[in-house]
């Protein structure tokens, strides 16, 4: 599968490598243009290419992986209708995410009771939005061996088919995507400061 990234930070470096190891190809974009990404994609190997934001958005699945403050700019100037978009962001209000309890509390208050994915959906009209990947620090998935633990990656979305494709993609990497339902119910449980965010869970088995 071709997977596009908007944003070229830690999430893209880590998840991009997992994707490539599983046989997928990725297109990486950022706000400064593909020429600034030469080294970034070279480090990931020949299955990673640098592209424009529009090229990344043209992939089968697009992953939004920028800091929250950059989300409006990142989503601008793309026709999102019909595109599968994974919201991998965390709604930290500061340019440098403040993950202290005080910082998280402040960030959550700024959402004024809305879910962060509802805000993303509003900025990407027509996108088939799936919230995923966002809830765990990338430090927890730096094992790239086939023996890596089956880390749980909570996933939610209102478009069942898009969500199923994202779940299959994540499972193809050796992780275990668990469907929490809609963005409003499930998504709210695995965004910043919510009970299923920032907990390192490994899948043992599904018992039935």
């Amino acid at each position: 599968m071709n997977v596009g990234f908007i944003g070229a930070g830690n999430v893209t470096r880590t998840f991009g490598r997992h994707l490539i190891n599983a046989g997928h190809r990725i297109v990486v974009s950022n706000s400064r243009g593909p020429e600034t990404l030469t080294e970034f994609v070279a480090a990931l190997g020949p299955d990673a290419t640098a592209g424009t934001k529009q090229q990344a958005a043209g992939c089968d699945i697009v992953i939004l992986a920028t800091n929250w403050v950059n989300v409006p700019a990142a989503l601008k100037d793309i026709d999102w209708r019909g595109r599968i978009l994974i919201d991998a962001t965390n709604a930290h209000m500061d340019p440098e995410p403040d993950i202290s309890l005080a910082g998280v509390t402040r960030s959550r208050a700024a959402l004024k009771g809305r879910t962060s994915s509802a805000i993303v959906a509003e900025m990407a009209p027509g996108a088939r939005l799936v919230k995923s990947i966002s809830t765990l620090p990338m430090a927890w998935i730096q094992d790239f061996s086939p023996q890596k633990p089956r880390t749980v990656i909570f996933t939610s979305g209102d478009d069942e088919e898009a969500k199923r494709m994202v779940i299959e993609l994540i499972n193809s990497l050796g992780f275990v995507a668990i469907d929490l339902g809609s963005l409003a119910v499930g998504g709210a449980m695995h965004e910043v400061g919510a009970p299923l965010s920032g907990i390192d869970l490994h899948f043992v088995r599904r018992l039935r």
Partner: protein
Amino acid sequence: MSCSIIGFGAVGQALARAFARKNIEVAVVSRRPPAALAPLAREIGPTIIPKSLQDAVEAEIVILAIPFWEHQEVAKAAASWQGKIVIDATNAFGVPVEELDGLPSSVVISRALPGARLVKGFNHLPAGVLGGDPNIKGGRRVLFLSSDDGSATDPVAALAEQLGFAPVGLGRLAERGALVQARGRTWTQLVFQDLVKFT
């Protein structure tokens, strides 16, 4: 806090094994008289104490490990449920949603026990797994807790930790708690997920 397990079938026995593993005292009850439970209780461990239903519901934390509808019988056993913490480990699988007035089964139980502070938990794993060692490769087996009484979750989470599990509080029964319940003839997403928590 004093604890009792109502129901000494597969789930009740699995819970008793979890208490015995950590040498925590717990009363156990079934329809049979306490003396009839004694041999099995002794085999599980010295901290497992068979009692009558009337004595067992005196505990500060009462765990329901019974078929769903039997909560109606248990409800009559206590003079008052006011302030008592009740852990609902039942699953109303196969109970038509109409018979529950469309409510989550735990809400139905909560209404039958006026004043009780109900927490749903210990319900998402089969007995064979629930009774096994919750320490897995250095992580702890996850238990999902949900409740409409936010502060009731704390002592239940503390008990779960004493037993060696990793409690994860989800929120209210009807909303987020709905992810880990039986509804009609379906099981929702988090039921049967055997997960282990590391940090």
